[in-house]
Symmetry: D3
Subunit: 330 residues, 6 copies
């Protein structure tokens, strides 16, 4: 997906140019994992023309395997992003109807080949929400992944402009049984599955640890999910957020520290969390270490322009270790 954003804090109506970058839920996770030195491939479909090629190049630049970025269809999805400040919220306008991936057919994806040397399959709830055959394609992928023994993770990522709560609930419920690691933010579980954390005021940001544990337990109970991770964002303003997360597994909840973040670009925060968590689990970190890594990773994402989390394992580990003072490194 092509991301177009005005420079700095310009509003859309002030822009005479847009910064361009290439992003998307799964793409962002792939880049972050590649930055951690993991072998990561991005599976999608983009048009054959030069704008499609730009998307391929953007992935290659950061070391993502683009073998399975199929070419075809007529357009690359676009999203317009306007950066908020203080009391003015950021705005995102999606323009992805008719994009190449939404017109892809199940038979175009040779999952057995794609998954040949893979250990993990990650997808987000945005992909089936795009409609067409994408729910079926996701289901095929999940089945093939499980058959080959991959770990499957899913970030629920509910987008109300893409589908209704009912559709989301129905489709995602078909996919969840294949999911080992489920990632959700404060609202997704409710929007998609009507699973609710009692007494939480999302807007105001009063967090309630017990409520999150309850959400995780309900997800686990309903779908047999091994690990549930929930990100906890407290939005103080468009510039300042508190950010933390919980990992629930083996009957126990692990809470990360909470970071007070002065935001550079908040988009992609959840994806960077997913990548951090996948890295942590693949590296067989203890649950507390994994959630700490994932949260620190996504904390750093908020300080980076555009969607993708361009940090190294060393940088995340330094923050995990408590080095949060931002002193110049010479």
């Amino acid at each position: 997906m092509l991301r177009l954003n005005p420079v700095g804090y310009y509003r859309f109506v002030q822009a005479s140019q847009f910064e361009s970058s290439y992003a998307g839920g799964e793409a962002n996770v792939a880049v972050s994992l590649a930055n951690y030195g993991m072998s990561a491939a991005f599976v999608t479909k983009v048009p054959e023309h030069e704008i499609g090629q730009c998307a391929v190049n953007a992935m290659r630049q950061y070391g993502v395997d683009t073998t399975y970025m199929y070419r075809g269809g007529s357009r690359l999805g676009v999203y317009y992003a306007e950066k908020g400040a203080s009391q003015r919220p950021s705005k995102v306008i999606y323009d992805r109807a008719g994009s190449s991936i939404t017109t892809a057919k199940p038979e175009e994806f040779q999952w057995d080949e794609i998954f040949r040397d893979a250990d993990w399959f990650h997808f987000t709830g945005i992909t089936p929400a795009l409609g067409g055959d994408l729910p079926k394609i996701c289901l095929d992928a999940c089945k093939a992944a499980k058959k080959r023994g991959l770990t499957v993770s899913c970030d629920l990522n509910y987008r109300k402009k893409l589908w209704s709560r009912e559709d989301a609930g129905r489709v995602m419920a078909e996919l969840m049984p294949y999911v080992d690691v489920c990632i959700s933010n404060e609202e997704d579980a409710k929007d998609v599955f009507n699973i609710e954390a009692a007494n939480n005021n999302v807007e105001g940001g009063n967090l309630n640890r017990q409520g999150y544990i309850s959400v995780a337990q309900q997800l686990q109970a309903r779908f047999g999910t091994k690990m549930v991770a929930i990100t906890l964002r407290e939005s103080l303003s468009a510039n300042d957020n508190n950010w933390g997360a919980m990992l629930y597994c083996d009957g126990q909840a692990y809470f990360s520290p909470t970071y007070r973040i002065h935001i550079v670009d908040r988009v992609g925060g959840g994806d960077s969390f997913g990548a951090g968590l996948i890295y942590g689990v693949l590296e067989e970190k203890a649950p507390q270490d994994a959630i700490n890594f994932a949260t620190a990773a996504s904390c750093l994402k908020h300080t980076i322009e555009h969607d993708v989390n361009l940090v190294t394992v060393e940088e995340v580990n330094a923050l995990v270790a408590g080095n949060s003072t931002g002193r110049v490194q010479r």
Copy 2:
């Protein structure tokens, strides 16, 4: 007026380019009103050359009626703006001597035609301060406006580099009897009319509600002004301000909430307040709703680059309704 500012936080002496935009007290109000869906015209005079045309185009872009931007004279006023940060204040250098508007003659303005379908006339104290025949032109406008039954509003906007306190006091006192709605900040009433809010420390920002009420009452007593609005700025640093306002009418004071703002561009804050207030009154909002709308509107202005307040009624209403967390809108 052409506004030239270095990019970002560059100081003047570092600039090798300037962002250009077109602004001014009344122009900013007109654009904001047009953004709210109101019919707004801007009355001024700009040179016939291309830089004058740029000013016309900038107004048209946001839907302002430019029929009465007369063309002639030799130059467009310029102001240079440098954005401050933390303890370093923003700086504004005006260069408007000899601009087209300052050489305009009273007979150039056909107020009866200009006001034909108008409900409201707004001006600021900067305009008569520019000298030449502008005090007379303002007076003509005020008289014509009253004759046709328009509501007249005035933002005192004292600029000490343009005229002395004595001149300001004398000229503005002639205009004030025509003014229905007077807008002032913490210092204007004192600078122009020697009307003072007791016990207020403007620099330090200790606000004193009773003092502001007293200022409003004195203005009302002296000039018969129906509504007096006073904006209350507490400057914590060049980046962070507290911002609120009071509306005094019908013998009662209405205080808006106070917003803690992380500033993107503070210039035009007062003008956006004026536009918000005019909108509120024209829409016949209750006084508390009107002052809340105006203050929320101007709060949002501080998050927008350049002078003009590019927000919609919906965006202001969302903030009035308490949505100040800056969460991404997708």
Copy 3:
């Protein structure tokens, strides 16, 4: 339509930002006419979101009446433009499937109201090519225009990626009977109506005056078109073109001078010609003067970035009068 182009001569795959502007065949004509001081309105449909608003603002900026830019639908069409140089051609990638205008319905357009004070209706062959109900909408407009006595002009503007020669021929043949002034380049008449200028080598640029006359006569014979204008481009390289035009009316051919142009941006050249011709005819210039004005106007367009021809009548007249030396004007 949102135009996105990399800065300068960057190729798409090098771009990390795009310049944004708003353009389209009819939009370009409207802006140019507004620049000539004519009253011009642009009729289209754009989405309600901010990117749609940007398109409205872009038209307003140059004084185009945007009353009939209806709001609705889900996306604004996009086109990506890469500037060629020397032997490397410019490239244009269209992404307008599903744009708001392509989903518009005939009943949304109140042509009687739209044409109330209008003298002229202009459209291009691109609009019906976009499909959906647009051929019908164009036909409605043509009929309403003729009924109200407007002059109708059409730029054939065949786009092979939008429709086949057969479809174009069929649809345009329905519309042509309403057209008073037909504009075509060297290839359009052939592509759309299989009307061919004998012995012309378009790529090589060998122009054949008699051939062009023959094309005009055939168009006139077939559709009863009062005026036929044909633009003659000889592409020497992506940087250098020869440019001229012929106007055929009243049984006589009028050839403009040919300009050797060092190109800044060639896109919109044809539209600027159309606007120049409409201006000339509306101003009741003699045919030779009209074609000279139109050709000089479009010559100047090639020296201006982006699609729209930002020149004044005085500037065109200076070139018509032979001032082509480019000496600095102080």
Copy 4:
């Protein structure tokens, strides 16, 4: 003077930012001489504020002595420059009424001190044209310069928007007797002194060697000028010019080669010629060598953005020596 120009080939009405640089006839000469390793001081008056400081810094950056850039007055003159292309001419809009230098008083300039270690005094016809006491100030400077034995040079540089031909002729005639080296382009001598080169078609660019000699002889005859240099510009388009010059001294005319120039920025071309000539004379080059140096220097100026000629003696000499192929220097 602050120069503001849109980026690249953007027209004024397209600009959302301006490149800023600091320039002016005499300033440009001073920078060029400093680049040649000469000691050069710029005498003027600029405001005390930061924009005035920017002008000082711009001169210092290139090694110009700014001791005599007096501070005071209220504004720095501005000029807006739009770059032409092909048949579209460049445009310059001056905005210097009321600038600090135009309000300077004769007694502010201590010419004896200013000229203490100087060998040469250069001024242009623009300075007295700015009015106020500037004609008197120029006359004072000329007298003081002659008294101390400096060589005096003057570039006639007639600007029709600044004064009438009559005023220019009267004032310049007072100054010319002090001038040893007079620089003029094809039109200045006619505009200022009604001295005409017979049979020259300036617009078309047909050059007539004998005519130029005649102009030089007439100037010499009337004012006793030792050297007269005339620049010969043939404007083929805004992008392409032919450029040459003649030096007339000791009863003989020396013609430089003519350069066909593909222009980057043409403004300052004459000033760079003046600096080259001053350098040549100060270095006691033979007349043919001096005119060749001056012309090559100004040829190179046309390839450089903004007003000032940022080339070294070595670079000019390489072109004088015939190295005009533009091969990469590694």
Copy 5:
């Protein structure tokens, strides 16, 4: 190598920012080949820090295999490039002393592994010129390549600031026996091996076909080179060059067409020729087709900013087929 160039035609002394890209003789060839769909790997050494990573990413972006971009050493070489115009030549300042590759040791390169699936090895004369162990490393590579049956190509690329003619001649003479395809420009053969094309005036650009054949024959006679390709540049100005080439093989000379090029960026022209030739030979094109492809490819490079030739096989073929008119492709 990090390339830093001022924006547009700015001179170094005007730059307040530099465009950054990553380039180098062999790197440019690798990118171009990857663009043609070939599998290309770049072998070098870059520092471990982020600037080294940028170089890796730049290669990956275009699909180059970066497995053998070893990490270590302390700095990435830098070169500063200033774009010339008209009579002002482009300037390149190299700063690569002490760069990581110049401190590499022969034992760091496992040529057998590097060449495992390779068909071709290309290097330029710049690499051994950098000194240290690089002559030895090149020799090792040549030997390993020949042992494994790879075709070896070398672009002589003499850089006088890096080594003397004597050193170049001695070192290159050791390497040439391994070279199957030798690429040279008009001057390299003379500078390195004192092999001269009689009667050629390189600066003036008078080309002499027989002379070039003679150079090729001498190279072939001395080193047994199978193919010799010579590029023929006629520098008309910094903006305009004529460009052609000759391929000599099997006792016959094949001359490409000559292109008159209006230059965007001339750096990397030779490298793009090398890549085109390698592609042609690998694709088993006939000699005339191969030289035509290589020359057309490098012609297009001159129209592209920065060093690398971002064109596809289809684009080159279109030019080979004679489509040089630069008409817009929609």
Copy 6:
């Protein structure tokens, strides 16, 4: 030294351009002093090519005397700077091995001439750390300075990537006896001389006044330093720091106020402090006034892009006087 930094908050791997400026410990001090109206010269060696010239121009621009910026050697040192945000630290990559200054020889510096009219000599610990003959050159300078009665100041500025603690301790111990005013941050004294402030947690920023006094006393006891100034930085995040300082002289400690700073660019903070202190001492301010001036000056530096502190004496004095609210100055 050339500083290259990505625009805004971009990371290195995202940059397609770098802002360029010219900086360095002593250079930054010189510029700041020149801004205060002091006569300041910068002594160094830079290459003869244009990039070296850029460094000279950058100093001249701000009024620094560049007579003793010797020309020669092969490269200008480079440093790459990436701006951190929130928990992500800023990063600096130095690339100065082999720079011209590191290859300078003691005999190139004529200290007696350099110091002819000087009152003060300032250097930093970075210079001897660069190796080669620089320790000897610094020693020569110190001796010459003391002989001529200059005050000598040194900012310890330990850089662990340049030399070991042992080497630093040995070399600096030779230089310190000549130093009258020693400037150190919280860590330098420990790193270089193993002099430690007990109980201070530098990372966390818990400051301990008594500890700093003890460090100053130890430095004084060991080297006889008249004045010791210690800057106290508490790094809350990459965006927010607390900043204060202590001056110890005449047996007494003077603490400045502590400023909470919202950072624009933190690099050069220490150098701006040094310049402020030198100014204060040269102006014979009382110790408390001197340390207040130095601290306020460096507070303001943090609000300015790039290394150098572009503030005036008036601006610093305003902050010293308590005006820290950042209100707009009109």
